[in-house]
């Protein structure tokens, strides 16, 4: 099972479940998390369901590359971290 976690920075706004999922792609894994907390979707994805410009996802320690389709493949033991991309002041 892949495991997806969200930055603790999000906890001041909404619940961030740690999700174990059999998802084969990043988008499927995110959808599994959004099923547990629908509010989370708007914090991670924009109106067009693309990854927000200042959110970054790491899959097994490597930054995801597909910010539009979110089709990056996941393995059965993948670890997914959804983080904020440092920016601003």
């Amino acid at each position: 099972m892949a495991r997806i976690e969200f930055t603790p920075q999000l906890r001041r706004f909404t619940e961030t479940p740690v999700v174990e999922t059999g998802a084969a792609t990043l988008r499927e894994a995110l959808e599994a998390a959004f099923a547990q907390n629908p509010r989370l979707r708007g914090y991670v994805l924009d109106d067009q369901a693309h990854l927000r410009a200042n959110v970054v996802v790491f899959i097994d320690g490597r930054r995801s590359t597909d910010r539009v389709a979110l089709a990056d493949p996941l393995g059965p033991g993948s670890r997914v971290h959804v983080m904020q991309a440092l920016s601003g002041g």
């Binding site: 706004f13 708007g42 914090y43 109106d47 067009q48 693309h50 601003g88």
Partner: protein, 357 residues
């Protein structure tokens, strides 16, 4: 209400209270978060705050107890963008303005969509007619990379009639609740465009438009290229060609009971957006723009570089109380229509908007 107000800032929402000693900060909410717009309590007591979280996007929160507690409500969302759509992405960048009439609420946004909520923020509907009108293709960013609606002025007596203003995209009016829209830019002039485009309604940059509540056909505009006034509900605009110091600025406020009286905060020019000679001043007309007084008492008169942005100047329903917040975090108050000012704070985060209520 003239003894409570709100300052939406780069790092929180500040509740301001007026007592016999003057205005002071009573509470702060969303400390550390950018609050781009605030709507004071509507008829039913609901107030809204729009956040623009740096990483996680725009969020709208509602309070039914005057800002003591908040809960997140729906965020306006753009529909799926067709593959062939040109122009800016159909993605919410910021809520720039909030307005209400009764319990109907509107949100003016970047990149140019007007949203309406009839359920106090539980859901929002994009005004499709304005979004799809062909002129939008000519809109462009003014202050931000994408166009945005900063002024929303419903007619106080005629439901369904409303004027909105866009930087940069002109002034638009509807008489049928947003089903159809028409440009209302006759008389405006854009000096930043080539001559053949100067009167194009879709490229005008009204920095701010306000409507007099007691004389709704009277509107004032601080435009990128000067000050304009309308006395016929925005059908035509007349330029006010003489204002002391400069006619450049962002903010304008109109007296709630006297359409002849309005306040402006001049800056040097568009290429130098600071007070003239480092001395902050407010220009007030009481005769419809034929003459102005320049008001300085209590405002910093040397080495002052504060800029008062579009929503940084507000007048209370009594027409006497004024608040003015700057992008460098200063806040001033007047209790006599601007004749004299006192400092509320010089240490706030950058002030996006001040509102009474």
């Amino acid at each position: 209400m003239s003894d409570r107000a709100w300052a939406a800032t780069r790092k929180g929402l500040f509740e301001l209270r007026r007592q016999s000693s003057g205005w002071s900060i009573a509470n702060v909410g969303f400390l550390g978060e950018p609050v781009s717009a605030v709507l004071p309590p509507t008829a039913s007591g609901r107030m809204l705050a729009a956040l623009n979280l740096g990483h996680f996007g725009v969020k709208v929160h509602a309070s039914d107890d005057g800002g003591a507690t908040w809960q997140e409500v729906a965020t306006p969302a753009y529909p799926a963008q067709p593959a062939q759509a040109s122009g800016p992405a159909w993605t919410l960048v910021q809520v720039w303005s909030l307005a209400a009439q009764g319990d109907t609420v509107w949100a003016g946004t970047l990149p140019g969509g007007l949203f309406r909520s009839d359920d106090r923020g539980a859901s929002w509907q994009l005004d499709e007619a304005l979004w799809h009108q062909p002129g939008r293709a000519e809109w462009f960013g003014g202050g931000y990379d994408v166009p945005g609606i900063h002024s929303i002025e419903p007619h106080p007596a005629r439901p369904g009639e409303m004027i909105v203003a866009v930087s940069c995209g002109g002034v638009w009016a509807t008489r049928d609740g947003g089903a159809t829209w028409a440009p209302k830019c006759k008389g405006l002039r854009a000096a930043y465009m080539p001559p053949e485009q100067a009167e194009n309604p879709n490229v005008q940059d009204p920095h701010r438009v306000v409507r007099c509540p007691s004389a709704p056909e009277s509107l004032w505009m601080q435009h990128h290229n000067g000050i304009w006034r309308s006395t016929d509900g925005a059908e035509t605009w007349q330029e006010v060609t003489f204002a002391p110091l400069s006619s450049f600025g962002f903010a304008v406020a109109v007296h709630p009971a006297d359409p002849q009286t309005a306040w402006f905060v001049p800056g040097v020019a568009d290429q130098q957006r600071v007070p003239v000679d480092g001395a902050l001043a407010v220009n007030r007309t009481c005769d419809g723009g034929r003459s102005f007084e320049t008001l300085r008492a209590g405002l910093p008169q040397s080495a002052c570089y504060d800029l008062v942005y579009r929503h940084g100047l507000a007048v209370a329903p009594d027409g006497r109380q004024l608040l003015m917040g700057s992008t460098t975090g200063s806040l001033w108050a007047s209790g006599n229509g601007g004749d004299t000012w006192s400092t509320v704070s010089n240490h706030l985060p950058p002030v996006h908007a001040v509102r009474f209520g």
